[in-house]
Amino acid sequence: MIKARVTVTLKNGVLDPQGKAIEGALSGLGFQGVGHVRQGKVFDIELEGTDRNAAEANLKDMCERLLANTVIENYTLALD
C-alpha cells in the first residue's frame, strides 16, 4: 500500500477570507509579527498497490478531477 499526501492551496491573488480571519484572530490573541496567513487543505490517501509511478499519475488525475479546484487552487503531491 502507498500512502500519499495531497496538499491543496489557493493560487496567489485569490482572496482567502479564512486566512485573513486567522491573521486577525492571531493578532487579537497577542501574537506579534504575524504576516500573511493562507489556509489550504491536505488529503491523506491510501492507495492499493506498490507502483509509485502509477500511483502518482492516479493522484494527479484525482486532483485535477476532484480534489483541487484548479480554477483557484494549486496542488502538490508527496508519496510516503
Partner: protein, 223 residues
C-alpha cells in the same frame, strides 16, 4: 429575570434571539459586544446563532477566544445560566465550557429543515417546562452540527445526564453521535444545542414548541 445576548461580528440570529427573549419575558435583553470584558448582572446569557468571524478556521473557534468569552466563563463559573444555540453551541464547545466537538454534517451540506427533538432530561434549568421523553418540533439550520465526543466522555455524560436533547424518530440531520442535539455541563447551568427554538415561539412560526426552553430559563410560566 434579566437576560443578555452576545453580539459578535458574523452572528446573524441575534435579532431572532432578542425578539424571542423579549416576546417571552416581556423584557428586552441587554446586548454585549465582542470587546466587552464584563457582563452586566443578568440571570441568563445567550450566545445566538450565525457565523461568528465567518466561521473561518473552525466554527466558533475565533469567537471562543475573544475577550468577551472570558467574561462569560467567569459568569458561568459563578452559576449564571448560559445558553448557546447553533453557533453559540459551537462556541461553547470551543471554549471548553461544554465537552465534545461539532463537525461537518455527514451530508457535507448545509441543512435547514424542521426536526423532532426528544427531551431526554427535563430536569434542568432549561427544560423544566417540558416532560421527560416529550417530543417537540424544532427547526435546524447549520453546516456543522455533527456532534462528536470520545466514548469515555460520552459514558460519563450519560451518567451525569448531560444529554438534554436528542434528534427523535430518525430525524438526525447531521450524523451526530448518539443523535445528540443538545448537551449541558455537569453543573447544570450551561446548555448548548444545535436546533433553533427561537424560530418556533409564536403563531406566525407555526408552533410554540421552542418557548419552553426560554420560559424555563427565564422562570416564566408557559402559556
Amino acid at each position: 429575570m434579566k437576560s443578555a445576548v452576545v453580539q459578535l461580528p458574523g452572528l446573524n440570529r441575534d435579532r431572532d434571539m432578542i425578539d424571542a427573549l423579549t416576546k417571552i419575558s416581556g423584557q428586552a435583553p441587554v446586548t454585549v459586544w465582542q470587546t466587552e470584558t464584563s457582563i452586566p448582572d443578568v440571570d441568563l446569557i445567550v450566545i445566538p446563532g450565525g457565523f461568528s468571524y465567518g466561521d473561518y478556521l473552525r466554527c466558533g473557534a475565533i469567537a471562543a477566544r475573544m475577550p468577551v468569552m472570558q467574561a462569560i466563563r467567569d459568569k458561568a463559573e459563578k452559576g449564571v445560566k448560559v445558553l448557546g444555540v447553533c453557533n453559540g453551541f459551537q462556541i461553547l464547545v470551543e471554549t471548553g465550557l461544554l465537552p465534545g466537538a461539532l463537525m461537518r454534517n455527514t451530508s457535507l451540506r448545509f441543512v435547514c429543515k424542521e426536526v423532532l427533538l426528544e427531551v431526554v432530561n427535563a430536569d434542568t434549568a432549561f427544560t423544566r417546562a417540558y416532560e421527560e421523553g416529550q417530543v417537540i418540533r424544532c427547526p435546524v439550520a447549520h453546516h456543522d452540527g455533527n456532534y462528536f465526543v470520545d466514548e469515555e466522555t460520552l459514558a460519563s455524560m450519560q451518567d451525569n445526564r448531560q444529554i438534554v436533547f436528542r434528534y427523535a424518530a430518525g430525524t438526525n440531520p447531521n450524523g451526530s453521535l448518539s443523535d445528540i442535539a443538545g448537551v449541558i455541563n455537569t453543573a447544570g447551568n450551561v446548555l448548548g444545542m444545535m436546533p433553533h427554538p427561537e424560530n418556533l415561539i409564536e403563531a406566525a412560526h407555526g408552533g410554540l414548541d421552542g418557548r419552553g426552553i426560554f420560559a424555563s430559563a427565564l422562570d416564566v410560566i408557559v402559556a
